[in-house]
Amino acid sequence: MINFVIISFIITLIYIAKIEMVKSYYPLMAAQGVLLFILSFLELQETSALQLILILFETLIFKAIFVPLFLQAITKGRAHRHQHSPVKGYYSLLLALALIVVSFVISHQMHEEFLDVKYFTAATSSIFIGLFIAINNRDLVTHLIAYLVIENGIFLLSIALGGEMPMFVNSAILLDIFTSVLIMGLIFNRLKDHFETTDATHLSQLKD
């Protein structure tokens, strides 16, 4: 079951890397939230009920429901096609696959007894593909999505470690992602009004 969920997560990453329409991100972000919930439910059965409720809130409520709806709300009525991405279509698909292979090779080479190769592969792939999306796309919404993909990778890493952080650190992480997304969403709206575009190339007024 765990293998199936992790492979599904990696497949969502491949799709995310290839997407050219902003609105196509939302169902995939929701799917990642659900998959992360299933994974943490299967892996962290020995943790306290409170911790499980927190994880449920973070994955299902926040990542699977709130984030896609929030992103949909702030991008309402916009042209949804990306512009000027240097790597497009199937080339970005190939690059995503290459990043996953690199992640797998790195994980496999670690030879760590306590390191679960499949978790580590999925986590590092998520971080690498998140960074790739941030660099490859100039739309501000995709930057926000890239941040969330990276955070999902970090979340996978923390599941792999068995949730050893104290309860309030976990709560702080949740609060942090929530406020970061909220702040970025609010600023995104203001930027949209001021610059009348969401292309990041227009954010170059601050120069030496």
């Binding site: 306590f114 941040y147 050893e164 702080a172 600023i187 001021h194 601050l206």
Partner: protein
């Protein structure tokens, strides 16, 4: 918790006087706590915090700089006619930011340290957003985006540390526990942790690789926010880095960590020197100067021995000097309504006391006598020579001379040369507002020249756990 409640109340109290009273009351409370903490130096403060000596010194600096910024903000609000909502948000952000920095200074658990550091990002973003124009929006977006990714990278580093600790059955993330077990942990994971944490926190320290958003933030925010970012936030970044360095200092990766710090410091110094030669915006000029000093602190720290003391003393003096200069820029902006050097001139004649602050601040940051930073920079060179890094000392000396030239060309021009493009508003020249900045500069001279026993003893006691 008190911080969050105070911040929320401050946001909703939009009275023009009460909102400032809230901030100053919070800072007075923090001062009272600091006064009481003095008796408990070296003792734990609950499960996740510790009354650390270095943290205590930087708490004092935090209070001093925050009080001065708070006082300047009162004038700033009146002069700029800041809307009540923006003023309330700024003051609430100041309280939240100050509380978060205090958390970083006294945390004794890596997870808690990370949490507090992330909170500083959110607090700083509120402060940067203050002006609500295109520049501040751009800077805030970049800051939140890059700093959040940086913080996420740092968290990945902490998770790697957890992975290493998991292997020996040790799961306690407190500094003391990790330090005592560090030599049993896999050095590869420790190296990965240090590298990721240094990368993630480089936004706060104004170092390579993520320094650019910090420079933009200081440029686009009010100068009094620049004063805070250049002093207390930078200190918090260094304190966080030192916690990891200290925890791993008894392992085989110490020379590797020193090399990483040296390379980071050198790259940052080269970049700051090259930018300082071309920059014409006075706020960016001081931001790049902060980057230069952060580089020198990193290089000094990487040398160990006397370099540790030099690094911490340098950080303390830089906090006062840079806060003073940024606060003075706020006043200059009122006179010239510009931050570009071609529109600012004859400042010493127009505002003699303000000009004196700028002149003495300039002497401080270029480490000219009687600046105390001369002493710490000499100590840094002493540490480099002790490590037989002669060639590196020579390169650093050349780069520092280039930086002095870059700063002198701009700042002496602002002080003494009449600029035809300058539009002067004499109403903005209020000499009494420069008195507090002058006090800060005098402190830089005093600390460097007389090295007060209280400061030096506490730094030495805090650093005696580090290997020579």
């Amino acid at each position: 918790m008190i911080t969050v409640v105070m911040a929320v109340i401050t946001y909703f109290v939009r009275h023009r006087v009460l909102t400032h009273v809230m901030v100053l009351t919070y800072l007075a409370g923090l001062g009272f706590i600091a006064f009481n903490l003095y008796e408990h130096l070296g003792e734990p403060l609950g499960e996740y915090f510790y009354c650390d000596r270095l943290g205590f010194i930087f708490l004092i600096i935090l209070i001093i700089v925050s009080v001065l910024s708070g006082i300047h903000y009162i004038t700033f609000v009146e002069y700029r006619n800041v809307p009540r909502e923006a003023m309330a948000l700024h003051n609430a952000g100041t309280i939240f930011f100050t509380g978060a920095i205090t958390g970083v200074l006294f945390a004794q658990h890596f997870g808690v340290l990370w949490t507090a550091m992330e909170a500083t990002t959110l607090g700083a973003s509120i402060l940067i957003y203050h002006n609500r124009n295109q520049h501040s929006l751009e800077a805030t977006w970049k800051y939140v985006f890059i700093a959040s990714i940086g913080i996420a990278i740092a968290f990945a580093g902490i998770l790697f540390l957890g992975l290493a600790a998991h292997k020996i059955g040790h799961v306690d993330f407190t500094f003391a526990a990790i330090k005592s077990e560090a030599s049993r942990l896999n050095p590869v994971w420790l190296k990965a942790t240090f590298l990721l944490v240094l990368t993630g926190f480089s936004v706060k320290m104004s170092l390579v690789p993520l320094f650019t958003v910090d420079i933009d933030a200081k440029d686009a925010s009010p100068s009094l926010v620049g004063a805070t970012l250049s002093s207390v936030l930078m200190n918090a970044g260094f304190i966080a880095m030192i916690r990891f360095y200290d925890a791993f200092s008894l392992t085989s990766i110490l020379p590797w960590m020193n090399n990483v710090l040296l390379i980071t410091g050198m790259l940052s110094l080269v970049l700051s020197a090259s930018y300082l030669l071309k920059v014409r915006n006075i706020k960016r000029l001081f931001a790049y100067s902060s980057m230069e000093h952060a580089s020198l602190v990193t290089i000094a720290f990487s040398c160990g021995g006397i370099g540790y003391l030099a690094a911490i003393l340098h950080l303390i003096m830089h906090s006062f000097a840079k806060a003073s200069l940024f606060l003075q820029v706020s006043q200059m902006h009122r006179i010239y309504n510009s931050k570009w050097d071609e529109s600012i001139g004859s400042y010493l004649r127009i505002n003699p006391l303000g000009g004196l602050v700028l002149l003495l601040g300039f002497l401080s940051i270029i480490a000219m006598p009687p600046s105390g930073m001369l002493i710490t920079e000499l100590m840094m060179f002493q540490a480099l020579v002790a490590k037989s890094y002669w060639w590196l000392a020579a390169v650093i000396l050349v780069l520092v001379l280039v930086i002095i030239y870059g700063l002198a060309v701009r700042l002496l021009g602002i002080l003494f040369i009449k600029k035809p493009g300058a539009q002067i508003n004499m109403k903005g020249a209020t000499p009494w507002e420069s008195v507090l900045q002058l006090v800060l500069i005098v402190m830089v001279f005093y600390i460097g020249l007389f090295r007060p026993e209280f400061i030096v003893n506490n730094i030495q006691k805090a650093l005696e756990v580090l290997p020579l």
